[in-house]
Symmetry: C4
Subunit: 272 residues, 4 copies
C-alpha cells in the first residue's frame, strides 16, 4: 500500500478535510454537510414528474455542479492522505467514490436512472460529519449494542427465514394458489408481510382454512417479534451497566468496575 511523507501544505489540507478541531476544518465540514443535503434534495425533487418537467434542466446543471465539487473533494482527500489506497478501500472512501460515479456514467448512456440509488448513498457521507457532534457517545452506545447482538439477531433471522418459507408454502397450499397466493415466492412475501406485523393487505386469505392458518401465523409472529427486542434490550442493559461501571477508576491500582456508591477500591483498598 503506497505511503510517503506529507508536505506541509498536505498536512495543512489534511487538517482541514479530515479533522475539525481547526476553524477551517469546521467550516469545511459544515459546507460539505450543506452540499450533501442539498444535492440529495435535488435528486428527490428531480424524481417528481411535474418538477422534473419544469426545472429538469436546472436540476441537471445542479447535479453536475455537485458531482464536480464532490470529485474535487475526492481528489483532495486522495492527495493529502498518507495512504491513499487505504482511504479508497475504506467504507467511507468507497461511498465517496460510489456517489460520484453515477453522474459521469449518466454522461455516456441515458438509462442510468437506476444508478440514482447510488446518489442516495450520499446521505451516508453525513455520518462522517456526525463524528463531530455531541451525540457521538450515544452513537457509539448504539453501535456497540447492535454489534454485540448482531450474531444472535442473525441466527434469529435465519429462524425467521426458515419459518416464512414453511408458512408461505403452507398458505400456498391452504389457498390453493389463489387469492394472491399465486406462487410460493408470493406466499413467502405474504408471510414476511404478516409475521413482521406490517400487514399491507395486498394479499389476504379468503378461504376459511386460509384465515385459520393466517390467524395462527399472526399469533406466532406476535410472540416472535418479541425475540429481537429481547436480544437488543438485554445487550443494551449489559452495555449500559458496563459503561456506567467503567466510568470510575481507582487512582491506586487503576482498576475499574466499582459500584456507583463504593467509597474504596475493592481491589487495593485505596480511596476512590
Amino acid at each position: 500500500m503506497a505511503s510517503y511523507k506529507l508536505a506541509s501544505w498536505q498536512v495543512r489540507l489534511h487538517e482541514i478535510i479530515y479533522e475539525s478541531n481547526t476553524r477551517a476544518g469546521k467550516i469545511f465540514d459544515i459546507t460539505l454537510l450543506v452540499l450533501i443535503v442539498s444535492s440529495i434534495l435535488v435528486v428527490m425533487l428531480d424524481s417528481m414528474q411535474d418538477l422534473h418537467a419544469q426545472f429538469g434542466t436546472l436540476f441537471l446543471v445542479l447535479e453536475w455542479f455537485f458531482t464536480l465539487l464532490f470529485t474535487i473533494e475526492y481528489m483532495l482527500r486522495l492527495i493529502c492522505i498518507k495512504k491513499p489506497l487505504g482511504y479508497v478501500f475504506s467504507f467511507l472512501g468507497l461511498i465517496d467514490l460510489l456517489t460520484i460515479i453515477p453522474g459521469y456514467l449518466s454522461f455516456f448512456y441515458a438509462g442510468s436512472q437506476s444508478l440514482m440509488v447510488l446518489r442516495g448513498l450520499r446521505l451516508l457521507r453525513v455520518f462522517r460529519i456526525f463524528k463531530l457532534t455531541r451525540y457521538v457517545s450515544e452513537m457509539q452506545f448504539l453501535i456497540v449494542a447492535l454489534k454485540g447482538s448482531m450474531r444472535k439477531i442473525s441466527v434469529f433471522m435465519f429462524f425467521v427465514f426458515a419459518l416464512v418459507v414453511i408458512l408461505g408454502s403452507i398458505m400456498y397450499t391452504a389457498e390453493h394458489g389463489q387469492n394472491g397466493f399465486n406462487s410460493i415466492p408470493d406466499s413467502i412475501y405474504w408471510a414476511i408481510v404478516t409475521i413482521t406485523t406490517v400487514g399491507y393487505g395486498d394479499i389476504t386469505p379468503a378461504t376459511p382454512a386460509g384465515k385459520l392458518v393466517a390467524s395462527a401465523i399472526m399469533l406466532i409472529g406476535y410472540a416472535i417479534i418479541a425475540v429481537p427486542t429481547g436480544i437488543i434490550t438485554t445487550e443494551m442493559a449489559l452495555s449500559a451497566r458496563h459503561m456506567k461501571q467503567q466510568s470510575r477508576t481507582c487512582r491506586g491500582c487503576g482498576r475499574e468496575g466499582h459500584d456507583a456508591d463504593a467509597e474504596f477500591c475493592k481491589y487495593c483498598g485505596g480511596k476512590l
Copy 2:
C-alpha cells in the same frame, strides 16, 4: 422581567387559580377541566358534516362562550401572578394563549378553520390539572425515563431517517417509478410506512424485484423496531432501580442508595 408585590386579593386569587390545596382551588380546577373537555367535544362534533349542518350556530355560540371564559381565565392568571411575563412565555402559558387566539381570528376572516388545530391544543391544558392526581409520580417516572433516552432515541431516529431515504430511492428504482412509487418522496413515505410496521397498503410493491427488496426492508425493520424499545427499557430499568434505592435514607449520615434489604448504613454503619 416585570415583578411586584402582590395585594392580598391577588394572593387569594393566586391560591384559587394556581394551587389546589384550598377548597376553592379544587372547585376551580374541576370546573376548568369540565370546560376544557366540553370545549374540545364541541370542536369535534362541529367537525362532523351532518351535526355542523344541524347545530352549526349552537356550536358557534358555545365556541364563543368557551373562548370568552378562557380569555377571562387568562386575564386572571396574568393579574394574580408575580411575574406575568414569566407565565406568558412558559409552556403552559403559551398554550393557554394559543387556544384562545383562533376564536378571535375566526372573527376577522372565515378560512380560519385551519386554526382549529390550535383548539385541539386545549387538551394539553388538562395536564395542568394532572398535577393534582395521585398519578403524578408515575408521570414523573415516564418523563424522567423519556428525557434520559431522548438523546439516544434522536440519534436512532437520524439513522432511521437516513435508512428510509436510501431504501426509498432503492424501491423507486426497483419499481421504475410506478405502482405508487411515483417519486422518491413517495417511496420514502412508503419506506416509513413499512419500516414502522404500520403497513397501510396504499402503496405496495408489484414487481418481483420490488417484493424482494420490500421483504428485505421488512426484515430489517423487524430488527430495527427493537432498538427504541431497548433504549427506553434500559433507561426505565435504571430509573426504576434508582428511584427504589433513593427511597431509603440513613438517619445517621443522611446518605441514600442502600440495598432494599440492608439493615445498617454502609457509609457510617448507623442503624437504618
Copy 3:
C-alpha cells in the same frame, strides 16, 4: 350479608363444585369446561349464515340445553355456599349470571342478538378451571406484573389519548376534511390506527402535506410504542427478581431475600 351453618350435604356439594382436590370435583370441573367450550362453539357456528340456515333449530335447542344446565349449576353454587350474596356479587359470580340471562331474555323479545356478546363472556368462566392447572404460578406472575404496571400504563394511555386527539385534528386540517379524514373523530380513529402501527389503510393521506404529517406521526409512534413495552418489561424484571429471592427463607430468623448462591443468612448468620 347472609351467612349460615352449612349442612353436611352442602359441604359435600361445595367440595365438588368449588374445590377440585376430590375425584368428584375434578370430574365436575372437566365436565363444566367441556360444556362451556361447546356452548361457545355453538354460538360461533350459529353466527355463520349458512350454518344458521341449516342447523338453526338444532343450535337453538342446544343453546337452551346449555342455558338450563348453567342455570342449574348457578343454583347449586348458590345453595352450597356460606355467603351466597358474596358469590353473586363476586367477579366470577356476576359472569356466571350474565352468561345465563341472554338465553332467557331472547325468550321475551327477538332482537336480543346483541346480547350474544354476553354469551361470549362464558369464555371467562374457563379461568375458574384455570386455577387447577400447573400454569397458575405463571398466571399469577403475569397478573402481578400487569397490576404493578397498571398505573404507569394508564398514565401513558392518557398521553397517547391526548396525542391522537391533537394529531387527528392536525391531519383533519392537513387533508382539508377529505380523503376519509371527513371529521375529527374519523381523523382520531386514523391516528389511533396509525400510532398503534395497525395501519388498516382504510384511511390514508393523499395530499403531500398529509403524507408528510403522517410520516412524522408514524416515526413518533415508532418511539412511543416502546414505552408500554419498557414499563411492563421493567415491572416483570422486578417481579421476577423478587419471586426468585423469595424462594429461599432462613430457617433461623425466617427472613427472605437471600442471593441465590448465599450459604448463610445475612441477617442472623444461620446456615441456610
Copy 4:
C-alpha cells in the same frame, strides 16, 4: 428398540454422515446443504405458473433426482446407526422421512400438490448442519430463553385467545354482522389481525360504533403486545446473567456463580 454392534465400515459411514470433524464428514454436510437448498428452490420455481409451463418437466426430473438422493441418504442413516428406530422416531428423523414421502405419493395420485408443504419441511433439515457453525452458542441461548418463557407465553396466548373471542363477538354485534364482520369467526379473525397490529385492512369497521370499539381494541392491543416482549426480555436477561456467571469456576472448590470482578472464591476463599 433394536441395537447391535456396528461393523467398522458402519462406524466409518456414521462418522461421515452424523459427525463433521472429519474432512469427509464436512464435505458430506456441505453437499447435503447444497442439495437441500437447491431442492427447495426447485419446489419454489415450480410453483410459479409461467416457469412451470416452461420447465415443468425439468423440475419434475430434478424433484425425482432429489427424492432419490434423499432416500439413499435416509437408508444410509438407518444402516450406520446403532439404534435405527431411535433415529426414525427422532424429530430430525421424522422430518427426513416426511420430506421424502410426497415424492413417492405424487407417483400414485396426481392431487398430491397439497403434500408439497412437506417438501418445505426440508428447510428444517438445514438445522442439522447448523450444529457445525460458530453460531451454535447463540442458537442455544435463544432456545434456552424461549424454552424458559414458553410456559408464560402460552398462558399469555390463552389470555389473548379468550380476548379475541370476546372482542370478536363484540365487534360482530357492533357492526351487526356486516362490513365483513359476517360471522363471529370472521370477527375473531379481524380481532387477531387487529390486536397483533398486523392490520391488513381487508375487514375494517364502517359504523361509528364499530370504529369506537375498534379504537379501544387497538389501544388495548397496544399495551398487550408489550407482554410477550416483557416475558422474553426478562427471561433473556436472566439467561444472559446466568451464562455470564457460569463462565468463571473456582479451581479450589470447582463452584461457579462468581461476580465478574471477584478475585477470591466466595465459598472456599481460594484464589480464582
